[in-house]
Chain length 420, copies 2
Amino acid sequence: MKQLKSDIDFERENIMMNIAVAQSGGPTCAINASLVGVFREALKETAIDAIFGSINGIEGIINNHLVDMKSMIRTNDDMELLRQTPSTVLGSCRYKLPDWKDDDTVYKQIVKTLKQRHVGAFFYIGGNDSMDTVNKLSEYFATIDLDIKVIGIPKTIDNDLCVTDHTPGFGSAAKYVAVTMREITRDSTVYSIPSVTIVEIMGRHAGWLTASSAVLHKLGETAPHLVYVPEAKFSDEDFLRDVRHEMSKHKAVIVAVSEGIEVPEGVQSGVVDNFGHKYLSGIGKYLEELVRAEIGCKVRSIELNVMQRCSSHICSRTDITESESIGAAGVRCALSGETGKVMVFKRMYDMPYTTVITTADAELIANKEKFLPKEYINKAGNNINDSALSYFLPLIQGELDLIMEHGVPKHFTLQESVLK
Amino acid sequence: MKQLKSDIDFERENIMMNIAVAQSGGPTCAINASLVGVFREALKETAIDAIFGSINGIEGIINNHLVDMKSMIRTNDDMELLRQTPSTVLGSCRYKLPDWKDDDTVYKQIVKTLKQRHVGAFFYIGGNDSMDTVNKLSEYFATIDLDIKVIGIPKTIDNDLCVTDHTPGFGSAAKYVAVTMREITRDSTVYSIPSVTIVEIMGRHAGWLTASSAVLHKLGETAPHLVYVPEAKFSDEDFLRDVRHEMSKHKAVIVAVSEGIEVPEGVQSGVVDNFGHKYLSGIGKYLEELVRAEIGCKVRSIELNVMQRCSSHICSRTDITESESIGAAGVRCALSGETGKVMVFKRMYDMPYTTVITTADAELIANKEKFLPKEYINKAGNNINDSALSYFLPLIQGELDLIMEHGVPKHFTLQESVLK
């Protein structure tokens, strides 16, 4: 790939509108597909000239660190490769804008960059924290009477954004979890002695991804035999009783557990990020030790870790296709004159699976979380009802034709020097 | 699938030869492919009548717990599905035969079952521990002048068997590791702050699987920047110096580390299995804490855990094809009159990749380990030489056309009741 200048001196006298796009928050398999969606749609629009990619989310706008995406993505093959590449090709950030009424310094820097680059619309692909940025920026621009559209493109494997039926990135993560949980089930059932396998799945406060592992029940698996989500009450005593009960029925008991279930203090490390999120870890290990001490059988815990958000090789085609579409819809939304909006999915039917893309006010999504509905969780609070599975199943359907090199999926990357 | 009787009353007056096959040791993605190889080849042989599958390795022979594999595998689709299914469909064991000179009780039970079932050849698919069983059984049968052939079919993701160029199951594990390591690299490079990511890979004493992650260097990745295997000397001080040096060159440093490298006592739990293997864990976490304490940067550790041995969805087609072939070759070997042999691969060329299947005496393989050659490891003992990569690359080539159901790879399974 041609070396990109990390800072492009792009000034024109007779402007059409330029646009800028950035990626933020934790990586997913689908966030580059949304970037391709924005890029491909923008190419079609004669009103749009340059397409700038901001390096490391909003930080790239603040620091005027942008790349010219037309130089970066030169061929159809580039676009397809980028669509299949996990994580954020432009880098990410966890930068939280201050309230501009308290301190508008960075807002002024942002305006300076956007004006200098003749940007008429800014697209922010991210989670509920990033939608806080969309909300604040659009409000600030209105206050200073600046006509730059700000549109949010959702993404998060946590699926915890309000209003939207589901979030881009979730389907691929859910597919990875289902596929891996099934393979772990095969792996766990080989020995003649009883065993317990605890699989720890991401989800700070919402149990969507953990719950999605129950799709295996539709495929004839009895596993996962127990599913614990943060939305249900958890106690060590109930957990041990549940495990003992399942061990009376199954030789190898498989447990799916959200990293965010409530366990005694000290298990979660308590370190807090810029948005006040605790970094969680160790719930699987904690429960493993509990089973070892109290039941004394063969037991192990498995943390699916970042693989659940970056395993593009088994991404959901439905997810990738939708993620590109919602990026493209964002461009059309901005051109129609809207701002301060987040693009959302509205589900029409589970089967045949049908969604439409519409918009919601960013303030309805920013800093808010959507939890698993009560009716998805069984009465005992230790599994997912079959009736919930028609929600999850359409999201994990289909695979991509992967572009391989030497037996490994190929990725689209920028040179390290561009990202520095 | 039709319910199988867990114990088949299979007695004939006029015998052709029956055969029995069992699977042992830790699961891999390829051990069922070898079972299919044995089964498919045996179907072709008019001299072979019944094909018995032993439940839970040699334990099934001891306890006369066998299934009729012709009832179990009824269609071409069944065969293909089983080939793609990870782990051991017949169950596994970690049973070590005693020396028959000390105690021949179980040997007599084994002989009783094999005679009752008119078994003329027994195939044991497993690692170096299972080849100990092949060796002992064939010696014992010779001693009592019993004409039952015993043939070993190798498998292990550790790739640590002597004589053979490589082991079935290793290629798929290596492919999973390479693919996942590349995806983790994408995931790790998103933020603007420096970070260290430590990926812990299986390998008790031999670093084959960890070393295989270096194939990414052939694909233009600088990661893994550091590779630590048990065959090289390790010290905390050298490790920290290496990490600091790589951090001066790369924003996100990726480290591949074998679970079996030597670290201070107490990190490895020290629990020992029937074969005297220590259960290892925690090396990644240990190094993570070391970096946090001594360097103080963003750091995380990722354990690839059982996913590296059961992720059939990204198995190597080369591995699965070879694993089936070596199972089939085992049947031909037994029919040619050999016993006490293990089937092995001999590599003719790296490119175009060419192997032939031949045999080795089981005693040359039983209870022995093959280590990474010194010339594969760089002088500093912290990475793999490029010259070694032509060994690894052919083993991870190709993918299977996966049979999917509802977005998840389908598996071939026996009913839980059969395995009990």
